[in-house]
Structures are given as structure tokens and as C-alpha cells.
Symmetry: C2
Subunit: 376 residues, 2 copies
């Protein structure tokens, strides 16, 4: 048997040749790209790629090597496509995007909807993004907010999508799936919860606590110290505060912001009861038009994978081969189709980037019902 | 400019050479593997791989090509490692696994804990897996079940991890993270919910409904038709049924199984109220020993990604390059570290597979706090 050193010298020599051939190959692909720019031919040629994979597999022996070289060529061909998309962009020859680029949002004249009532965290997030003097109204549920946007009753909705402690707001993912509304911006709001009760109430009076499910989760350490308290979920923290005032029962309290307590005439019994000091919530700004800001840097998509066929790892290779950084992935069951999932992926990029075009092209081929939820 | 046909002929000729070199390279890697088997050397050599990436990048020009060839070589070297792990396995030279292989679970003599009370879905899942005559007891919360296992008070716990309609049981992911308990099996239970009240109660009497949060979500379509009903979350559907009986208030009902209703002396007011006819829940069997069944075919892991450094796409390449099919991925916020995530991934495989060894080796290098939750 040859020594490790001799074997490694052999590898180094092979690798020099592979590197030279790789560079030659990319040069020829660049020339193919120039041809495609001039001739108006499309970059992705499914039939040609299939034939190429079969061809390289036929050139090597053994299952392990046949599989390996095909994987290698999938990556190589994805690189070639990325190069060619870049050439098309530089030549100004890239086709229409499904989203229209805009320079800014008209925050001054926008009519904005939030969920809850006066004092809701959604109201605070809305003001943080659109300013204190925003023209706004509120609805009771997330669904009603999405309907207001879809109908055009409001230009934008500001809705929570994720909390730093409690995780995703699962219902929002389902609604983004269901409605033809799109994310156009996001804003992150620090969240400090209080336990608030009727004026004059003492901590020892409390027997029942109202809040939003997520807020109850974010304060579970505090609430667990009072395990005899009943915890009741309502649709919004500010609505919980309002309910406590209206029902006028000294044994009832709300988990809500100090602002919501003030607005609804409650007294703060304990401030800062969130488990995590750095608790914050990410809100999205949703609209009914397919638009994106020119400096948008994050894309959210959703797609489905057919049962037992296309697999997740094949799909995710489109991010990896195009060097796109995924920042988030959520899987959600598809209603009515047990154990099938749709996936929500956030990744960094702008719809005008060649790598993004390349990835989305591949994702559309290999997943089902791909929807771009927004670029923001 | 040359025609597309001429350019493609050039590509074909380059590809023939690359295929030949690829095969040569894998042959030499196989010889390196034989050497490593004999010499007891380890497969993964981080320093050598780093040098190789720098070397191939130096052989090509331009940022695009330098990046491209490095990505290609990451894949090539992962393939080499997979080949060498396979050789080690075949030579019987693969080191100790952190988990011990067992032939079967001693279901006859097992002492098993479930969460809830008599009639809980967890009890039904337990009986489905361990048989009707299982020696069991119940505790009030998932946390208490995990503690019973950790302390050895029970051999196994049967706990829900995911529902086909409502998605993951988020708390279970947090508990699997926190406790040194491991998944050793799973069982899927069909779930049919009823609305059950006191004997003699009519649907029009109902004003308040108790159940587990997940069960309330799984029956939201039915419950939305009665939007004036208060919905109150308790820890378990069977505990909800028990509570309705004990409080003896005709306006109260539980969402629970018909079995739970029967056990606790309630009457079924409406049967089959789940939104989805095919509603089912996946339960995991958890134990405190690191063991796996020899025919285990699914692995669950969790890992963290440090903020702003290691990125998700780099991590997931270890599944792709090793041809491991991910069946599920969940991201959860890390408590006390806003916007940092830990990830829970399920993928197909057995801890003895070379591809699995290879992937886990790479994952350990590039993620933080990797934990194998079980192979089952």
C-alpha cells in the first residue's frame, strides 16, 4: 500500500487538473450566457440538465460514484445558471419581476389597521413604524385585519409574526398562506408586560388572569408562581385590559403593557413580568399589492412538498448552491392532508439579485404552490 | 461568437475529463480510507480540508470562481469522508457510538408514565404502544413526566410531540432540550374530539369550554360557530372532563375524547368536532438511557447556531451532501438570547449508517450544543 503522503500527492495533482477544468467550464458557460443574452434564450433548460446528469453518470462506475457525480453536477449547473442570470441582469435583459419596485411607502397618507383595541402592542408597533399621527383603525382579529387589507379598506396592516421568547405567531403564517396580501416591511417592538388589575386591587385578590396566549407564555415563570390562578386566553392584551375594567371584578387581572393599563384605567400591580428581559416582537407591515422597496433585503416564501416525492433536502439545495442565507424556517401541517407540510422560509436577498432569481426558478420547479410572501 | 452547439461540445469534452478525474479522485480516496482503517487514523482532518479549500481557490481566478470551486470541494470532501466512514464500518473499525443498540423494549415489565388523568389521549397512545395491561401511572404536567423519567420513577413516558392539524407541541421541544431524556420510539394515535357536558346539559346551556390549548385549536371551526363561548385552557383534555364533572355547572363543557367523557361520567353533546377528519397525534416514547433499537430509522437532533456566524445553509449542507432526507425542521427561540434559535431536525437514518456518522461529525464541528435526541 502506498503511503498517505504519496496518495495525497496524487490527490493534489488530480485537484490541480479539476480546478483548471472547472475554470475552463465556467468560461464556456459565460460564453453560453452571452449567446443567451443576444438570442433571448432562457437560462434554465430542464431537458439539457437532465441529459447532462445522465451523461456524467454513464461515464463513471459504481452506484456510489454515479450518485456522487450527479450531485456534483447539480451544484455545477446551478453555479452556471447563477453566472448566466448575472449576465442577463448586467445586460438589462432580465424579464419582468412579479413584484413592482417602489422607492418608499407613503407613510403620511397611509390608512393603517391594527388588531386589538386602544393600547394594543400592535398599535405601538404601528406608531413606531408610521409615526404618532398615523390615520388608523382597529379590528378584533388578525383575520379581520387581513380582510380589511384585501378589500382595500386599509392600505396597510401591522401584525405580529414572531416573538423573541414565545416563537412564531402560528396563526399569522396560516393567514399569509390564505390571503393574497404581501409583506412590505417589518418593525421590531420591545415588549414589557405588566400584571394590571382594577384600581385598589391587591395581588392577593387575583384569581383569574386574561391575556393573549403568546403573552401568557411569555410570562409563564411569573404566572407559575401563582399556580392557582386561572389563565384565560383572549385575542389581544389590550382587549384583556378592557375586559377587566368592564367586568369590574376585583379578582380579575390582565397581562398587558403599562400603556394599555393606563388607557383602560387599570393599575399596574407588578411591572416587567416577562420571563425574558429582552422580550421583543417582530411585526410585519402587510399590503394587498405586490410591491417591494428597492433596498429590501429579506424575502419570505412558502411552498409545499408533495407527500413522499420531492424532498426537503433537494429543495434547500437551491439556497445553498446560490449562497443565499436562510434566516428562518417553519414547517406547518397542511389542513386536510395529514403529515404533509408547507414550509415558510426567510432568506436574505432582493428580488433583483441573480442568485435570488436562480433559486426561485429552481424552487418553483421542485416544490408545489410556491408563493413569494414579500421582499422587505 | 461561437454557436451554442460548438460551446456545448466544448462543455461535453470538459465534462468527460472532469468525470474521469472524479472517478480517479474517489479511487485514491478509497486507498486513503484503507490506510486509515489500518493505521487507526480518523477520517475527518479539519486542517487538511482547510488547506485544500485554500489551495483550489488559489488555482482559479476571480471571486465568483474562487467561491464556486470551494463550494464544489466542500461537497467533494464530504463525499470522500462518507466513502471512508463506509470503509471503517465494513472493516468493523468504527468507534463506540454514544448510544447503545438494543434488540427490543421490555414492554411486559415496563413502568410507564403519561400526562393527564384517566381517559387522556396520552393513556390511549400508551396502551396502543405498550398494550392494555401496561403498568402505569399519571402526572399532571409534561414536566413532571420528564422528571419521573429522569429520576427513574418510570422507565418510559409517552408524550405528544406533534398533531397533524395543530402542528408541533412546542413545550415538548423545550423539555427535550432541557432534560437528559431520549426518544426511543414513536406511535401515532387517531384523535377524535367530542364536546361533552354534564348529563342532561343541552348545547344551548353551554357558555364555557375547557380543554388543552392544542385541542381547542384542532376544533376551532366548531368553536367559532359559538363565538360567545369562553374557551379556557387546562393542561389536558381528560383533566378538562374531570373538572366539568367536579364543578357541576351545567354551562360548562369539555373538548375531550368520548372515552374521557365516559370515564368521567359526562355526556357527549357533539361527536367528531375536530376540523380535520384525519386528525391524529404523534406520541414519542421517552427514556433516560441512551439506547436505540437496531431497526431504528429516524433520528431527531437539536443544535444552536451562534448569532451572525455559522449560518443555517452551511449546516444543512451536511444533510444534503450525505443524502440524508430531512423529514421535519423546527426553529425555536433560545430563552434569554433574543433572535437566536435552536433547531430541531428529524431525518431518516440509523446511528450506525456511515452517512449519519459523517453528517453528525460535520454538524458537531459547525453548530453549537448538538444533542442527539434519539434514534427510533
Amino acid at each position: 500500500m502506498e503511503s498517505l503522503e504519496v496518495l495525497r500527492e496524487k490527490l493534489d495533482s488530480i485537484d490541480d487538473q479539476i480546478a483548471a477544468l472547472y475554470e475552463q467550464r465556467m468560461n464556456v458557460c459565460g460564453q453560453v450566457g452571452e449567446y443567451k443574452v443576444k438570442a433571448g434564450r432562457k437560462v434554465f433548460d430542464r431537458q439539457r440538465e437532465k441529459e447532462k446528469l445522465a451523461d456524467v453518470a454513464s461515464k463513471v462506475s459504481g452506484d456510489f460514484n454515479k450518485k456522487g457525480i450527479q450531485e456534483l453536477y447539480q451544484q455545477l449547473m446551478s453555479m452556471s445558471r447563477k453566472l448566466q442570470y448575472r449576465q442577463l441582469v448586467e445586460a438589462g435583459a432580465l424579464g419582468r419581476l412579479p413584484f413592482i419596485q417602489i422607492n418608499d411607502l407613503d407613510k403620511q397618507n397611509a390608512r393603517v389597521v391594527f388588531q386589538g383595541t386602544e393600547g394594543a402592542y400592535g398599535q405601538a408597533a404601528m406608531r413606531q413604524f408610521f409615526g404618532e399621527n398615523v390615520n388608523s383603525f382597529h379590528v378584533r382579529t388578525f383575520r379581520e385585519a387581513m380582510e380589511s387589507i384585501e378589500e382595500g379598506a386599509a392600505d396597510y396592516a401591522v401584525l405580529p409574526i414572531e416573538n423573541s421568547t414565545a416563537g412564531p405567531v402560528i396563526e399569522m403564517y396560516d393567514l399569509l398562506d390564505e390571503f393574497e396580501n404581501y409583506i412590505v416591511a417589518e418593525t421590531i417592538l420591545p415588549v414589557v408586560h405588566t400584571l394590571s388589575g382594577l384600581p385598589g386591587a391587591k395581588l392577593t385578590d387575583i384569581k383569574r388572569v386574561y391575556s393573549k396566549t403568546e403573552a401568557l407564555m411569555q410570562t409563564s415563570r411569573f404566572l407559575d408562581e401563582h399556580s392557582d390562578w386561572q389563565r384565560i386566553s383572549v385575542v389581544n392584551t389590550a382587549i384583556a385590559a378592557k375586559k377587566v375594567l368592564e367586568e369590574n371584578d376585583i379578582s380579575q387581572a390582565a397581562v398587558c403593557s403599562s400603556y394599555a393599563a393606563k388607557v383602560h384605567g387599570l393599575s399596574v400591580l407588578v411591572d416587567g413580568i416577562n420571563d425574558d428581559d429582552d422580550n421583543s416582537t417582530r411585526f410585519i407591515v402587510v399590503t394587498n399589492q405586490k410591491v417591494f422597496l428597492k433596498d429590501a433585503s429579506k424575502i419570505s416564501i412558502r411552498f409545499e412538498l408533495p407527500h413522499q416525492s420531492g424532498s426537503l433536502y433537494g429543495i434547500l439545495s437551491h439556497f445553498i448552491y446560490n449562497d443565499l442565507n436562510m434566516t428562518k424556517i417553519e414547517s406547518r401541517p397542511i389542513k386536510g392532508r395529514p403529515w404533509e407540510y408547507c414550509f415558510f422560509v426567510d432568506f436574505e436577498g432582493n428580488l433583483e439579485d441573480p442568485a435570488v432569481k436562480n433559486a426561485i426558478r429552481g424552487l418553483r420547479e421542485e416544490s408545489q404552490n410556491l408563493k413569494i410572501l414579500g421582499n422587505y
